[in-house]
Symmetry: D2
Amino acid sequence: MIVVMNEGATEDQVQAVIDKLMRLDFNVHRSTGVAHTVLGGVGPEDAVEPAEIAVMPGVMDCRRIMSAYKLASRAFRPQGTVVRIGDIEIGGGRVVVMAGPCSVESEAQIEESAALVAAGGARVIRGGAFKPRSSPYSFQGMGEQGLKLLRAAADRHKLAVISEVMDSTQIPLLAEYSDILQVGARNMQNFNLLKELAKLRKPVMLKRGIAATVEEVLLSAEYVLSGGNYDVILCERGIRTFETYTRNTMDVSAIPVLQKLSHLPVVGDPSHGTGRRDLVLPLARAAVAAGADGIIVEVHPDPDRALSDGAQSLKPEQFSEMMQQLRMIAPAIGRSL
Amino acid sequence: MIVVMNEGATEDQVQAVIDKLMRLDFNVHRSTGVAHTVLGGVGPEDAVEPAEIAVMPGVMDCRRIMSAYKLASRAFRPQGTVVRIGDIEIGGGRVVVMAGPCSVESEAQIEESAALVAAGGARVIRGGAFKPRSSPYSFQGMGEQGLKLLRAAADRHKLAVISEVMDSTQIPLLAEYSDILQVGARNMQNFNLLKELAKLRKPVMLKRGIAATVEEVLLSAEYVLSGGNYDVILCERGIRTFETYTRNTMDVSAIPVLQKLSHLPVVGDPSHGTGRRDLVLPLARAAVAAGADGIIVEVHPDPDRALSDGAQSLKPEQFSEMMQQLRMIAPAIGRSL
Amino acid sequence: MIVVMNEGATEDQVQAVIDKLMRLDFNVHRSTGVAHTVLGGVGPEDAVEPAEIAVMPGVMDCRRIMSAYKLASRAFRPQGTVVRIGDIEIGGGRVVVMAGPCSVESEAQIEESAALVAAGGARVIRGGAFKPRSSPYSFQGMGEQGLKLLRAAADRHKLAVISEVMDSTQIPLLAEYSDILQVGARNMQNFNLLKELAKLRKPVMLKRGIAATVEEVLLSAEYVLSGGNYDVILCERGIRTFETYTRNTMDVSAIPVLQKLSHLPVVGDPSHGTGRRDLVLPLARAAVAAGADGIIVEVHPDPDRALSDGAQSLKPEQFSEMMQQLRMIAPAIGRSL
Amino acid sequence: MIVVMNEGATEDQVQAVIDKLMRLDFNVHRSTGVAHTVLGGVGPEDAVEPAEIAVMPGVMDCRRIMSAYKLASRAFRPQGTVVRIGDIEIGGGRVVVMAGPCSVESEAQIEESAALVAAGGARVIRGGAFKPRSSPYSFQGMGEQGLKLLRAAADRHKLAVISEVMDSTQIPLLAEYSDILQVGARNMQNFNLLKELAKLRKPVMLKRGIAATVEEVLLSAEYVLSGGNYDVILCERGIRTFETYTRNTMDVSAIPVLQKLSHLPVVGDPSHGTGRRDLVLPLARAAVAAGADGIIVEVHPDPDRALSDGAQSLKPEQFSEMMQQLRMIAPAIGRSL
């Protein structure tokens, strides 16, 4: 903990901060500059929020030295984590493509989807059975029946499955049908859900919340890791900014930043990152060029008739084109697709 | 639905949009201008996302005419909603103050808190028993024992109780001890939780998510209202912006905006809105001056020793000062405290 | 300067940072913790950007100890600055109201405006002669003729004048007709303009840029102060956020924050802060309740026919109502209007 | 103009809007739905801000049909604009790299820079002579002497020159030494400067402001185009968001979005877009993969001793590595470097 005192802070004010830090079991080093006194506290940084020191009289600023995440940090596993599902490696030398419709809608739709994503070279099929929708009047998903159809179609085409879990009560169901459990952006700080997922022995893909900093993403990952589940994949899927032309602003920089700060693999989601089909290809290319370990995209046999997110779903021929482009880009960063 | 075609859109492109809207049961009016053709569709707006039309070839822009919330809109109940807990009216002529510690920590702490907030003139005591914390290593709350202590202290001082519910499984417990169930900012779009709260016959206070627009706040309220629970209170508690001096940026304008768009009462939370004790008084005054139906603030008998959120908790003497100031301001907008 | 090294940083990496800081004339204190080595550098903080240290190998984080503004900081003049124009004091015991149309449009319009704002109790009239407009096809202002009309109307009604200067070449003209030179939000970091205004002996009102942090506001003020012009007034007028219902999000907290960090007076602008006439009254009340030293609002004799910003201009009767409300609120914070 | 009336709007309110639009020379079409009356106005959209209608009684929402930019829109020149400097084509089949130091610091430094960027394959050298700095105490540039050194070094290595113009008075000087005049992010809405640049017959590169929407970028370009200068290049260089790990958030999506909405070439600036040397390579790759017509990056012979922006300047060997990677990526989008 670093505390900078105001110019003109009194000796009593300095002493009060030192006392507070010592009460919390910090060792305190004091350095007195021309204008400012600076206190360096070494101790249990989790025990106190910097803001609590920052509002004490005479304090100009207080900041943490160490980040509050530990198991998620690169230092914990410098060589990086590879998440394995059968022979698929996420975080290895090959960029993994996950693709499929926003929602499972029918047996025919999911079968057709599985066929086309497998043909294109994707290794994982996505598809939602429970849909978080801003409006209570929108389509809410097929539930367990959707999961069954998804699993069957995946098995026919030798694909792994990723699907979203919306709350703790759904974990057993999702764990039965899906290889990777996705935590959606709105649930990134649903800490009860994260604690339950920590007990599972299946990979979890944690999507960044639309207003979450990279540090908060890593703190949420820490909830899962600290509970004993080390197979966590991070996903950048766009943040909310003042720009409204795109549904979100895909923060492509977050991909290399998360890889620098953490050992966990990072996937990019250009479908939610942009919200528009015509932007998915450029941003999928950008994510792979920036070093993403994988891509998750929405593709639908007939997007104009999709029950949800049709606007951001690729058409089959766009998906093929994307796969070809990504195959050309991956070698620039020493990878293959 | 309003669709504006590009300059130079072909007749086929225009016709494809008309066909899609008609397939969705819209009546379509076409107006052909010098540069742009404009289509006005009247029909079931919930049936389609504007973005799905916006990505069709030749389309420049597509927007909804009607907002997707109905029961939450001012038009549904122009005279406004008053939420009643015993003789307390939220949304009536008196500004209601809710105050108390961030977390229930011990019997002595909550008793002391109840005494001081009651003495100051607050009508509702707040206190968390389950705490959502960004870091898994922080204090997570006392659980049911905390709720019991809170209820007992409130009863001794004739206060109503507000406390946060973190997921659906906690609803029965919270409903037993608390008069108002608070949905935290991180859960504002936890739609499963909202659907369960809709079945309850107790008031719900819905806090705005840190990246939620006012429209999304109202759509979340719609989840609760459409399930049959009409006692919903909205709460502005700060949004995330680029400014980092304050923990959040309290969007004081959202108070009159929500009151204009909706009939539901609106409460301001200057403690979370600013994150700093020294800013709570000015922003509490601002919220009341802007017309808030109530204020919720954190106050602690000894904030320096608080187990959570000490930095933003008022000291007892600051709470008294705030109450005096608010009493002077309320009459400027035709209210009392 | 505080530098925190990564866990596992090598001795060579630590030494490279120490060498760099010493080359820049810093005294460096080293403290070696269990996990992290921390370096505290005391020296000429302006000489280096923290980011330059932050990208060195082995560095986790680097931050400035002292803010880069000095003359603008509260410590420089703890008792606060009062800017005087004749007998008007901005930053004194009375809240100063500045009001008038967005643009000067005609002799009749500005005379009518002056009469109504003087009658309501405002002390300063505002009115633009040169208008910065996002579109090149919008009304661009009356120029010098507008300034003459504004000055004459102000003199007839014993009002001081504030008007916007758009670039350095306009300074002599503005200085001739206006008592306060306003720097618009888009020019807050037009450093050449600020340097020229620093040579003037007239008050300058500096509006916060829509994406400027409070620290950047103070650094821009520092440009004016460091050139010798001490009569600087700051103005909060809304920042850009993801919320689109209002044109900007008025950051009411910035008012007490700027007053805490700086000795300069702070004015609130609810017209630009919200962009909607129906929100100006609540936000004007909020700004005064939060402690603003003044308010600047747009008012027009007939807003429906205004040539610019009609949507956010108050009608005459709304202006009167606002003045009455503000008179009731000011005493709550020990001031009058 | 599309106006949607509130449910329950009175006939008088509807008529008032129709009257206002007709007074402004709009033709108005009325359509009366079950819940809402919708008015479509065809006419001079520049004559009125939608907000002015939006605040009229009974109005729910009002929006423009046509964007306010015309000459900058893709429809004006569907085949796209190619900006030519000698044999360099920006917006053609080759991705153009512009590189060089943040500031010109000395003859040796700029000569060394020119040699290394030419050797790497860049076609344009960048270098600032006048530096906009947030703090008045930072290095402010070498002025005309810097421009001379830059021009001479460029000529020796057959490079074109790009340098920033900070205000109108500097235009003649910049036009003498530089092939492209850069308008910095802080000046993107300095409309007086844009009007003067419109009179020039030299290419202008307009950087996106840190809080500017893509629509505002195009409106600023419109200022230059409408004054007769058609050689405008747009530049995405990062926007301000809540994320603080990077100096800005590079909005990679804005590259294809601007190319879709406009015919003007678009360049990406990963140096300012990220503010950190270690992120420049991934984001340069991402920008090219997303389809940028060019890249502008900071590179310095010895970044640790740079007088400005050293943190984001590439080292010589990083620059070579970047060029090799970009050469591999360009073919994926049908281009070369």
